[in-house]
Subunit: 505 residues, 2 copies
């Protein structure tokens, strides 16, 4: 395509420049709100150009660091490049990049792990400091200057509204047919002037398909033609299939009992192998007329739409494999009517999630015998990714599922432990735990009743005797018996793993 | 007053009976939904009569136990009496009775600690099993059978709707002028048919002042004339006043910075000495035109209304001292326009709390250096009361404060510890911690940045060196440095206390 053809606003043409020129407009010690939610819709070239600028500055002895705020995770060209050159002072609200993670866990970079529904409003409230620059990928610019969002929405509306200056990347790799798929809600206000969010069905449209951006804020426009970068889809492994099987069996049971409608309730699904296995299971399962109100549209959802099982889906981003992106772009006219992409403060809004009654399905790192869940910290201290939207959904869902294989590292780690080493979801927010071993339905159970379910249904058989032993002795010796524990050995499994490489005694 | 004068529905007159006769209609192994939220509006005589019946049955060798569901805590005549005779199989969702607490911590009684906003909907969803009987105190019965709620609303609407049978206590001690003060919302539905809760100002009325109850469900009516039972108001002690002082100074600062409106935002305030000190401080402070959207109306709020500082308050219950009750009953006409009592699924609804942007102020048992809060378990295993509504408010508030004296037991316990022994509010939900020592503003801080604030501003000076030492060594030796910990000594302070009676080394 010819240069500039996605930039229809003539007034803005003189802002077109190279990534290097755009990066040169970014001073040190600013906070930058970047687009990106999973490997979708992040700026593709300016962050890398900025990383080079930072490297040069640092080599010249001039400390150059920035604050990086995003929707959620991004890709190596953004988080990886900036973390590699030690360019990030503070990162929020979610990341999953290996270099970034290493810097954080080495103590070389500050990271704030925030509920995704909190991010936009905290910026509006002035709680996170000044946002200096917004750096946003869009799919195009209309004649009147409105922006066509790209393959993720994330916090882009808030970044554009709140930043002093805006840098745009116009990515012609993104399908032009994305236009019309987004629903940008401009009705959010500050308390005490807030009104109800008027969504009552998952695919209700309450906003406009475009971002508004005052042209005078725009200091640079960079043209790109670069693909999104999400991992290829892997076929579900045996454990994931078993987990999905337990979950589907449970859903069928709940429908039979009349506790869920036959077309279920809006699905929220985390990303990854287990989530895709669940979607594959639903695709072959007995439920019809499904809907999704979730964060990301994954491969599995597209095939459920093609087969007619999934009627509509609301999300804030695509998280599709290269093959699925190709397929989607070929059939975008079909998908456009069924998919709504929203700002993440709406996709993750507690008000809407509770009203719709989502079925929340999220992964975990470890759960304890009383149903507390650690979603973020390996052995209590090393951040993995972040809490993301799991808290927004788990607490407000109709049903809150947490899913994991019962073991990790070839059996050296039990996902079910006496006490979790970090808590992201408390006993009050976890209803159903599923492993390949089985499902623990914790609804209406006291902590002691939960312990039996979790140990016997979810833990790997190799770890059950030790868990039973811990529970039995806790029940006997714990000073209080609401949540029996032996504090002196509550973390002994983690410590043993750190010492010997295995949680097994 | 003459017998029966509060029961205007002639059709129901033949259901009037004694508490003993009513208790005789309750079989074993039923779940009973009782009224009561703090020492207000709980049934006064039938639970005690039931306790005697249970004692007789147990003495005769017939095991008699029931499930007790309430709004929140009640009083000795209910929780105390039933727990004393070992009559409670399962208790939910909140309690604060010494006998009840002892039974739970001895392992003699099951207890489920639930977010107060979850309770009604979980019953509607069928997640807690069958509710057999509702036992509800009301202030009167209208000619057409509608019920005038009493001094708390709690889950009464849900209990009446969901139970097969209803037993009413009509308490003529409650002022007749309570009529019209309540707002019972009948618009809740099950997903997928839920609609927005149409509250946009704290005192909006969206329902009716009465409970509907099919007369055929009513199996007994017991007339009573017994007072509510809340603790007398104590003048704030020095520490509470200091905590209130720090909090008020912070609010003034936020108003100056433009981050809160001059009349603040709707206040939510836990119960107790510190909360009353904050209210007393606000009563003398510079802020005018205040509102409250909270769970309970306390003494301090009444005086703020009399002085004109507090324009209106929404709650689900009164929690007033005997002196304040007397004063309120004398001036009920004045208060009726300013106070709305709602079902607790509305007073605690995340949708409404987030929309209004409440300032949430709650107590805690202990906080750790990274900002995790334990609200429920002493030394990790002994339940104190329960989470109550603190989670509903803390996560959805505009600002979420947690307040505590920095020490307990004369200095033997530090309220700031290396790692909390139980987590109710995660690092993601705690924004500001206040002790008599000072205030830690955790907004926009990473865990390591929080640690410095909490140790230096909130911990008691006697404990600061040991906390600094733990943090310093963790920073050096922790495998991961996002949330540095030494798992082998994370609970050493709690274990030392259990061993020696003091957390001091």
């Amino acid at each position: 395509m010819s240069s500039g053809s996605r930039i229809l606003c003539s007034q803005l043409r003189d802002k077109i420049m190279s990534a290097e020129e755009a990066a040169a407009l970014i001073p040190t010690h600013v906070n930058i709100g970047m687009s990106g939610f999973t490997g979708a819709g992040y700026p593709k070239v300016t962050p890398t150009a900025l990383a080079k600028r930072i490297m040069d500055a640092n080599l010249a002895g001039n400390k150059f660091k920035i604050g990086v705020w995003t929707g959620a995770s991004t890709a190596p060209e953004l988080d990886g490049a900036l973390a590699m050159v030690e360019g990030i002072e503070l990162r929020l609200p979610y990341q999953s990049d290996p270099t970034c993670r290493k810097r954080i866990n080495n103590g070389e970079m500050e990271y704030i792990d925030i509920h995704l529904s909190h991010v936009a409003q905290f910026v509006w409230f002035g709680f996170l400091g000044k946002l200096d620059i917004a750096l946003i990928e869009v799919a195009g610019i209309l004649e009147d200057g409105r922006l066509i969002p790209s393959s993720s929405v994330g916090n882009n509306k808030t970044w554009i509204d709140q930043a002093d200056k805006v840098i745009l990347e116009v990515n012609s790799w993104q399908s032009e047919k994305l236009e019309g798929m987004h629903d940008i809600y401009y009705g959010t206000k500050l308390p005490p002037d807030r009104l109800p969010i008027p969504i009552i069905r998952p695919n209700d449209r309450i906003g406009t398909p475009y971002f508004d951006c005052p042209p005078e804020k725009i200091i640079a426009i960079v043209e790109t033609n670069s693909p999104d970068r999400n991992s290829p889809f892997k076929d579900p492994d045996a454990d994931s299939k078993r987990i999905a099987g337990h979950l589907l069996e449970f859903l069928e049971h709940e429908v039979k009992k009349g506790r869920i409608p036959p077309n279920l309730l809006p699905l929220q699904s985390g990303v990854g192998n287990i989530a895709n296995a669940v979607l594959a299971g639903l695709s072959e399962g007995p439920f019809e007329g499904l809907t999704a109100y979730t964060e990301v549209i994954q491969d599995g959802m597209l095939s459920m739409m093609l087969s007619g099982k999934l009627e509509s889906a609301s999300a804030t981003a695509f998280s599709l494999s290269p093959a699925a992106i190709k397929e989607m772009n070929q059939n975008l006219d079909l998908y456009r009517d069924k998919i709504v992409l929203r700002p993440q403060e709406i996709s993750n809004h507690p008000e809407v999630i509770r009203r719709l009654g989502c079925l929340a399905m999220n992964g975990l790192i470890e759960a304890d015998i009383y149903g507390n869940v650690n979603s973020t910290h390996v052995m209590g201290t090393r951040i993995q990714n972040g809490i993301g939207g799991s808290g927004d959904f788990a607490r407000n869902a109709y049903l809150s599922f947490f899913m994991t294989p019962s073991q990790a590292k070839g059996g050296a780690i039990s996902s079910i432990v006496p006490m979790v080493s970090h808590v992201d979801h408390t006993e009050h927010d976890v209803q159903i735990i599923v492993t390949e071993q089985g499902l623990a339905d914790l609804r209406g159970l006291s902590p002691k009743q939960r312990a039996k379910q979790i140990i016997e249904n979810c833990a790997h058989p190799d770890y059950r005797p030790a868990l039973r032993d811990y529970y039995r002795r806790s029940l006997e010796l714990s000073p209080g018996k609401q949540t029996p524990h032996l504090l002196e050995e509550a973390f002994s499994w983690h410590l043993r793993y750190q010492r010997t490489g295995s949680m097994h005694a």
